[in-house]
Point group: C2
Chain length 258, copies 2
Amino acid sequence: GPRKIAIANKKGGVGKTTTTINLGSALAKLGRKVLIVDGDLQGSLTSWLNLGDNVNGRDLGAILTGIIPFVDAIFEIEEENFFAIPIDNSLNELKLNFNGDGGWEMALKRELDNWPLGYDYILFDCPASYNAILINILAASDEIIIPVQTEILSLNSTLSFLENLSQIKQSINPTLEIAGILPVMFDKRTRHSKEILEIMAEAPNLGNHLFKTVIRNNIRLAEGPMRSRTIFRASPSSNGAVDYMLLAEELIDQENNE
Amino acid sequence: GPRKIAIANKKGGVGKTTTTINLGSALAKLGRKVLIVDGDLQGSLTSWLNLGDNVNGRDLGAILTGIIPFVDAIFEIEEENFFAIPIDNSLNELKLNFNGDGGWEMALKRELDNWPLGYDYILFDCPASYNAILINILAASDEIIIPVQTEILSLNSTLSFLENLSQIKQSINPTLEIAGILPVMFDKRTRHSKEILEIMAEAPNLGNHLFKTVIRNNIRLAEGPMRSRTIFRASPSSNGAVDYMLLAEELIDQENNE
Ligand SMILES: Nc1ncnc2c1ncn2[C@@H]1O[C@H](COP(=O)(O)OP(=O)(O)OP(=O)(O)O)[C@@H](O)[C@H]1O
Ligand SMILES: Nc1ncnc2c1ncn2[C@@H]1O[C@H](COP(=O)(O)OP(=O)(O)OP(=O)(O)O)[C@@H](O)[C@H]1O
Ligand SMILES: [Mg+2]
Ligand SMILES: [Mg+2]
């Protein structure tokens, strides 16, 4: 079945959404069939792809609460092999805490196990908050990619997130593996960025999971969402496009080791 | 009583913690008595100030669940007029949703109303997620400062956050006013940053709340937390120090208009 990968970190603003969309697009360009899912009530992925107006009840929230099956929320986006599930950002997070009946954490997993899906990759854009949606995604995923900005606040939160993950593995999903830890917004002009990348490489439980690819700080990546574009449509020869294509290739290389 | 200000935005990584600590320090330097509170279970503020090891049950979580009174969680930090309340980041957010008895949203407000506190400013560092702690803070605060990175994803989330705020005002706290919207990480070298700042200035419901002060992108601000320092101790003559001092002066100017 598909590789189901959560793109997650409890630190905010570390490129979770940027990675989900641009890595997804790169994998689709390399011939993989890719589904990306907006798991963040903030709805950055949904608004980036301009899906907000078409949702009409076909979104992740409707899947989690059992109103529609998984396949009914899938939208085609303008590239080959590339599909998305939006989120309705008017959902109230506090009300989503499912009415406490057994197994609410497994609502998404049950859906995914039921539907034979012809995808090679399903990427989930995760919220920074520890809520019912994040739990569902981590329970349904096999792997996790953790973007980390090369700055100290991001590193500290990530170390604490790695501790949380081992608790989540024990209680919710023992099979969850780290596909990789991804340095992002790296700026070789600043000592701080280089210092933090060095600390990451040497940190136990972190260094051994680092991707070879480093996503460099590149304003083109921030401009992409202006006209609902991936980095490949907005600036195909930019550092951002090069880096996310390298990451996709590195992920495909991992397939042979699975 | 003190000005109680929430530093909040549902977009992640927009400088909420950086603003709480550095604005707080600047106000303390200008002679105001300042208390900053870590309201984010991620605990960036707590770890920045190296308070994590001393918490021993004296934190915001213990106040919200009624275990200790507000004043028992106040720690002195190494500057005059400057105090902090940490958070224990092992708290489980899903369990914090108070056992549903009436008025859990007002737990913090009740505490603050009970304790005559000699502070001029109480600044709350807010989480990016819509959870019970955020609701408590927004119910207890009189004002809100909204940091916005001058990039499109941040602007889009902020516009949606402003819509949420009017719902929160109606249901939880009609007195909550916007003290200001703060452009952060502004980089005059990029067209994108300038373009977004222009859009912000012209956007209805946003432009009229913009602070005159703009916080420029400055790596010194990212380095501060390395040795638990505010920008004033880490790099007193940097752009970051200048900008946060200007913001503090602008906030004090507002006092006369209150
Ligand atoms: N490599 C990069 N270079 C420059 N800017 C980047 C890069 N990656 C992301 N950005 C920008 O940084 C900001 C944060 O990225 P993004 O919104 O994708 O992070 P996130 O982790 O999804 O945030 P949130 O916690 O709000 O969900 C955005 O404005 C984005 O455009
Ligand atoms: N003006 C600035 N210039 C450069 N870097 C900054 C600036 N303000 C904040 N930063 C850095 O940007 C990152 C995000 O800031 P910060 O963690 O304060 O945001 P936040 O909104 O509190 O994030 P979260 O959503 O995770 O709570 C941090 O690494 C911080 O050091
Ligand atoms: Mg995001
Ligand atoms: Mg923060």
